[in-house]
């Protein structure tokens, strides 16, 4: 197959035709921070954390496919500033109480904030009123922590062949909704792939919180993206 040559931060690399910047970079051990992109699902392009400067324009690396000679800027002060701002937007948009969240140490939003050295949100908290859905026997949904990344919507459809979640409303009123009045009305099972797909503590298994001791959790020692970057060293 013909390979496409392009550069990320001046380093030349190759991509397969149709490959996204995000995937091509990962194959070469370059980590592009991202949140809504998940495994091989159709990219959502919504969180914008993976924004890169691509031939002069800002594009989402999870969506934009590589073209011959493309010049991608990933690790620059400008891009860092954009990503930090977007992460902070996600923090202040919800109600994130990391100190008691069972996802702490395993949370991708938190891990990205750690990676970028964020000590406090740069924007005022919006403190929305959000709901907590405890109706399901084995899984709960805490809208306070939802970042509207759409992973659950797509995983439920594409991997679980169900349709447990979708977005309703628009703009700042947009929120995640379950197929029915409450989670218990859906055909969600605790064994579904969707349960593990939530990057934050919004969709969580019941009765298994805090199982991993502090210090041994996924992001306690190494920053998010470390596993990809290790391949590069």
């Amino acid at each position: 197959m013909k390979h496409i040559e392009f550069t990320i931060d001046g380093k030349t690399m190759t991509a397969k035709p149709g490959q996204t910047i995000l995937k091509a970079a990962e194959a070469h051990g370059v980590y592009i921070p991202h949140l809504c992109a998940y495994k091989d699902l159709i990219p959502h392009g919504s969180c914008r954390v993976c924004s890169v400067r691509c031939n002069g324009r800002i594009q989402a690396a999870c969506v934009q496919t590589v073209s011959e000679g493309m010049i991608v800027e990933n690790d620059t002060p400008e891009i860092h500033e954009f990503r930090k701002a977007i992460l902070d937007m996600l923090f202040v948009e919800g109600n994130h109480f990391c100190m008691f969240c069972e996802k702490s140490g395993q949370c991708e939003l938190q891990a990205l904030a750690y990676r970028f050295g964020i000590t406090a949100p740069q924007f005022p908290l919006l403190e929305p009123e959000r709901e907590l859905d405890m109706s399901h026997p084995d899984v709960y949904l805490d809208h306070n922590r939802c970042i509207l990344c759409g992973r659950c919507v797509r995983v439920s459809q594409d991997l679980d062949n169900k349709n447990c979640f979708q977005f309703v409303g628009r703009g700042h009123r947009k929120r995640l909704k379950v197929n029915g009045e409450a989670l218990a009305e859906t055909d969600l099972r605790v064994t579904d792939a969707v349960v593990a797909s939530c990057p934050v503590g919004a969709l969580m298994k019941k009765r298994v919180g805090y199982a991993i001791p502090i210090g041994e959790r996924h992001f306690d020692q190494q920053p998010i993206g470390h596993a990809i970057e290790e391949k590069n060293s």
């Binding site: 109480f97 949100p121 190494q222």
Partner: protein, 191 residues
């Protein structure tokens, strides 16, 4: 601990003030948790207004003010304002100071409901008079719990619940040495 007497004897020594507002004192425990390094710190700084030495008022300008907890009542605001006026640099220490923390969980619940739940309705409450405490000495609660940086300008932040002692030590050392603090990856925590 140094005394104010010594502080005035060494006017060149930087002075540190600390306070716990709507917090649990866990962050102050973490300050003490810098262990024997606190002795080295005591060599180069004086502690002014602080629960560590129980001085309750400012008696001069301080280099660094460390704030634990957010503002849940009028007195917190008053104290924080006092810190801002008396300190060159203010540091928000811990999640409560930074984003309100656990106390801020009440922020979407009307104050009246919070008080009724706490003093009248919740299981296990023994309150035969059925009154909600209202002594003149009790500071009035705010409509919500405010992060410190929504009340006064804050210069530095050390997140964590509580922040690791190493993070506190790094930020203090950096500020005293006049460099920008850089908290190590493993010491930057929100829990």
């Amino acid at each position: 601990m140094t005394s104010s007497q010594e502080a005035t004897n060494h006017p060149e020594k930087p002075r540190i003030a600390t306070v716990s507002l709507a917090g649990c004192f866990g962050c102050h425990m973490s300050i003490l948790d810098i262990d024997e390094r606190i002795l080295a710190l005591a060599e180069i700084v004086d502690f002014a207004r602080s629960p560590i030495n129980d001085y309750k008022t400012f008696d001069g300008r301080c280099t660094v003010g460390i704030i634990e907890g957010g503002c849940c009542n009028e007195e917190n605001v008053h104290v924080l304002e006092d810190f801002r006026k008396n300190c060159d640099v203010l540091v928000s220490l811990g999640d409560c100071a930074i984003n309100g923390g656990i106390p801020a969980m009440r922020n979407n619940i009307p104050l009246r409901e919070c008080l009724e739940e706490a003093y009248l309705k919740s299981p296990g409450v023994y309150n035969p008079s059925g009154t909600i405490p209202n002594d003149e000495e009790l500071p009035l609660l705010l409509n919500r719990v405010y992060p410190c940086n929504e009340v006064v300008k804050i210069d530095h932040f050390i997140p964590g619940c509580p922040p690791p002692a190493d993070a506190i030590f790094e930020v203090l050392s950096a500020l005293l040495a006049g460099r920008t603090p850089a908290i190590a990856y493993g010491d930057l925590k929100y829990d």
